[in-house]
Amino acid sequence: MQTVTNKAKKGKIGLKKDLVFYCLMLIWPVAQFCVFYIGVNFNSFFLAFRNITMDIESRSYVYTWSLDGIKKAWETVMSPEIIQATKMSVLAWILGTLIGLPLGLLFSHYIAKKMPASGFFRVILFLPSIISAIVVATLYMYFLNMAVPMLIKDTTGNTVLSLLDSSRPVGYQFGALFFYNTWVGFGVNVLMYANAMSGISPEMIEAANLDGATGFKEFWHISLPQVFPTLSVFIVTGIAGLFTNQFSLFTFYGSDAPFQTFGYYLYKETLAHSTDLPEFPKLAAFGLMMAVVAIPLTFAVRWGLEKLGPKED
């Protein structure tokens, strides 16, 4: 009896210790979440309805409530610059989803099936995610800007402009950057999907094979439904990417890109005005407008995926 009581006491003490441990572990991330997510977003929300001007004589900024930020952001949204950014953002997202995603799934299937050189592909495809983005981007940029044109000039005597040259039609630069983004983003996608696929029961695959399922049928009817929860998370979170993805434009062009996306526009403007308080309300209002579109869109896509997504047979 005494032993049981001691065990119960020990259990309670252990539980308390665990609780203290978990609380201590969570304090820092929760505090970070409160400050850098909740606090920042609240601040940004209210900032959208402020007007800030510099008052040099009183050495202070003058804050007033105003819809000027919303008005300016709306005019920006309706400007040709942002209309083009909308097109480019949507195009980048659609192509990324239609090309990048299926390719990622196919490669993952290949790796999960442990086909020849699958380990090699896993490492090579994940390499751009390990190496600094700046290093990879610089290599790619020099390859397109210097190596290819100079090689052509040395061998043929003709000057051929880089695919990234701003005097070329936008399609060239978009294509070059789309390839880069797909390549660089491949690693994470492949790792996630391949891991999800490797969890599929071998008995299920064996049974399908015995039933005469081909490789494609196996992928379509078994692998895809099994990884669909992972896939749908990628697609749903990708909706936010539609508004935040800067498409590596800043890495390649700095603040002088030949076309823009939402993410690039916001990043560039925020950077340019990092110490420019009077410009903050317009940018905050711009972000708020994007949130107004992004939130229902995200829910709609999630609902659609749940309704229309493949079901495990």
Partner: protein, 566 residues
């Protein structure tokens, strides 16, 4: 074998990852820690200096002279003399934020690209910069002759801007402008100078020095025997020169493809200011005064000045987009970019073409003219570019070409636009002893002998008035001598103003931003800057110079209501 392969791959990946880590450390590693040991028997002053094109050597030299001069002065109880501790690192950014300053041990700053008013206001978390009125307005004991105040060396525009409520919190540091830089050795070697008495109707080749034409023309200043002899006077001359250079299989003009936005647009602004003159160009920042150079285009696309001047105020300052300078700068840059024979297509828009790479092409003589900022020599020296021609910096001969003038403006005084926003200031809240030391050091580096020493060390100019004797000029590089003469003989405009409309919208109203144009019917969108419209479109033959001028006026008229008016 399998284990070995795994170990090898792990090792390779670890190294690859460490590159990333090193890269991160490199960016964040500019901790600005002075390397010199602290001497506790003296009062220390920690000085932060942007180690860009003008370097930090000038400051190390000044510090030695100052420490020696003040070795017996007591700034704080228990110490005698002073120790100036200088940062010798190059951070990622030349300016400092209010938070940077508050959180740093540095007490005196020499920065660049710094918005004085924004720094003065800070970020709402306490004052960042301190009052240095004493250093600027009291007689300067470090002057060898007289005891003029530092303030007396500032122009009227500078004095008005830097004085806030009767106090001064910062003063201009160095000066820098954009322009066309030419390779004198190459010009001499290839006889790329206009000959004396050349006629505009003559064949292009007959206008330049040759066997029968051995004397240079008088150049833009019209006086023989000066540094600008043989250089182009008008835009037409300039274009003729470019064609002539091309005949020698040399690229006429080069610039950095990577930073072309800044370099092209700011040189464009310099050309526009040079046509309008300082007083009219300054209206862009003051937004108050009478504009006399506004105009419109006639049916043939020619500029026709308005019959009457226009009074400019906050409500109609967008009219300044119609200044003649803008029109003429479009003609100049439209002419340069209109033919890709004038530049190397491979680099013109190449985002991998660094500024030092463009400088190297120029130093090597692959290009005759460099579109650059006047700090370029220092950058090239740091990049070892002069070693490529087996010379030292001081053995090379480069010059700043006077900005060519359009017809009707020949002989007018040159105007230079300072784009640096370089600032000297102290941290707020210094102790009395430290503040006295900081003020003394400011006075010292702004005394005439030290201003001259700065120029002799950097071959650059401080953004204050001072005179360099002929004897001292001999110690400058050829480029430094020409730069001094050119700027000294020009009117200088600074891109700032005390007008609240301007400083609340400085980013949108800076010189470079003033040339954004809305041109209808293009397959691109948004407003375009000169480097986009004139260079990108010029190449494809789509640029319409008249449409661009009208587009700039339209853009400003449309966007004026969007400015922050308080």
């Amino acid at each position: 074998m399998r284990k070995f392969t795994k170990t090898l791959i792990t090792g390779v990946l670890a190294v690859a990852t460490s590159f990333t880590a090193v890269n991160c450390a490199g960016r964040a590693g500019s901790t600005d820690v002075p390397e010199e040991n602290v001497d506790t028997s003296k009062t220390q002053l920690y000085v932060w200096n942007y180690n860009g094109g003008y370097g930090t050597d000038w400051l190390y030299k000044a510090k030695e002279r100052f420490e020696e001069l003040q070795k017996d002065v007591v700034y704080e109880d228990g110490t005698t003399g002073c120790q100036i501790l200088v940062t010798g690192e190059k951070p990622g950014s030349p300016e400092r934020s209010a938070a940077d300053i508050r959180n740093s041990k540095f007490e005196l700053y020499f920065t660049e690209g710094q918005d004085y008013y924004k720094l003065f206001l800070g970020d709402g978390n306490g004052d960042a910069i301190g009052d240095i009125t004493e250093a600027v307005t009291t007689p300067n004991q470090f002057e060898k002759e007289g005891n003029a105040t530092v303030m007396s060396k500032l122009t009227a525009q500078q004095q008005e801007y830097y004085t806030i409520g009767g106090k001064v919190y910062g003063i201009p540091h160095y000066q820098g402008n954009f322009g066309f830089i030419y390779n004198i050795d190459l010009f001499n070697q290839k006889n790329l100078y206009f000959a004396e008495g050349y006629e505009s109707a003559a064949k292009d080749d007959d206008k330049f020095l040759g066997r029968e034409r051995d004397k240079k023309s008088a150049g833009p200043d019209g006086i023989k025997g000066t540094y600008d002899d043989g250089l182009p006077v008008t835009y037409a001359d300039f274009f003729t020169l470019l064609k002539y250079i091309k005949k020698h299989n040399i690229t006429p003009v080069t610039w950095t493809g990577k930073y072309r936005e800044q370099y092209i647009n700011l040189t464009f602004n310099a050309a526009a200011a040079d046509v309008d003159g300082a007083e009219q160009h300054k209206l862009k920042y003051d937004m108050s005064g009478t504009a006399t150079t506004l105009g419109t285009l006639d049916a043939d696309g020619n500029f026709v000045k308005d019959a009457a001047p226009t009074v400019i105020n906050d409500k109609n300052a967008y009219e300044l987009a119609r200044q003649e300078g803008t029109y003429q700068a479009i003609q100049l840059f439209g002419g340069i970019f209109g033919s890709n024979a004038n530049y190397d297509d491979l680099f013109a828009r190449n985002s991998s073409d660094e500024n030092t790479a463009a400088q190297l092409r120029f130093v090597r003589g692959q290009a005759a003219i460099l579109m650059e900022g006047v700090w370029w020599e220092g950058e090239s020296e740091q990049a070892n570019n002069f070693a490529a021609v087996s010379k030292k910096r001081e053995e090379c001969n480069f010059g700043l070409m006077p900005m060519p003038k359009p017809e009707g403006h020949v002989g007018e005084k040159n105007t230079v636009v300072d784009v640096m926003d370089a600032l000297c200031f102290t941290k707020a809240g210094l102790s009395a002893g430290k503040k006295k030391l900081a003020c003394d050091f400011i006075k010292f580096v702004y005394s005439d002998p030290e201003l001259v020493a700065f120029t002799k060390n950097t071959n650059a100019l401080k953004a204050v008035n001072y005179v360099i004797s002929e004897e001292d000029q001999r110690d400058l590089t050829t480029f430094g001598k020409i730069l001094y003469k050119y700027v000294h003989d020009s009117d200088v405009v600074y891109e700032y103003s005390t007008n609240p409309l301007y400083y609340n919208n400085a980013y949108s109203l800076r010189g470079r931003a003033y040339y954004q144009g809305d041109v209808a019917g293009l397959d691109t969108s948004g407003s375009l800057a000169p480097h986009q419209y004139l260079l990108d479109m010029g190449k494809t033959g789509k640029s319409d110079l008249s449409a661009y001028f009208s587009g700039i006026a339209a853009h400003w008229q449309k966007g004026w209501d969007n400015l922050n008016k308080g």
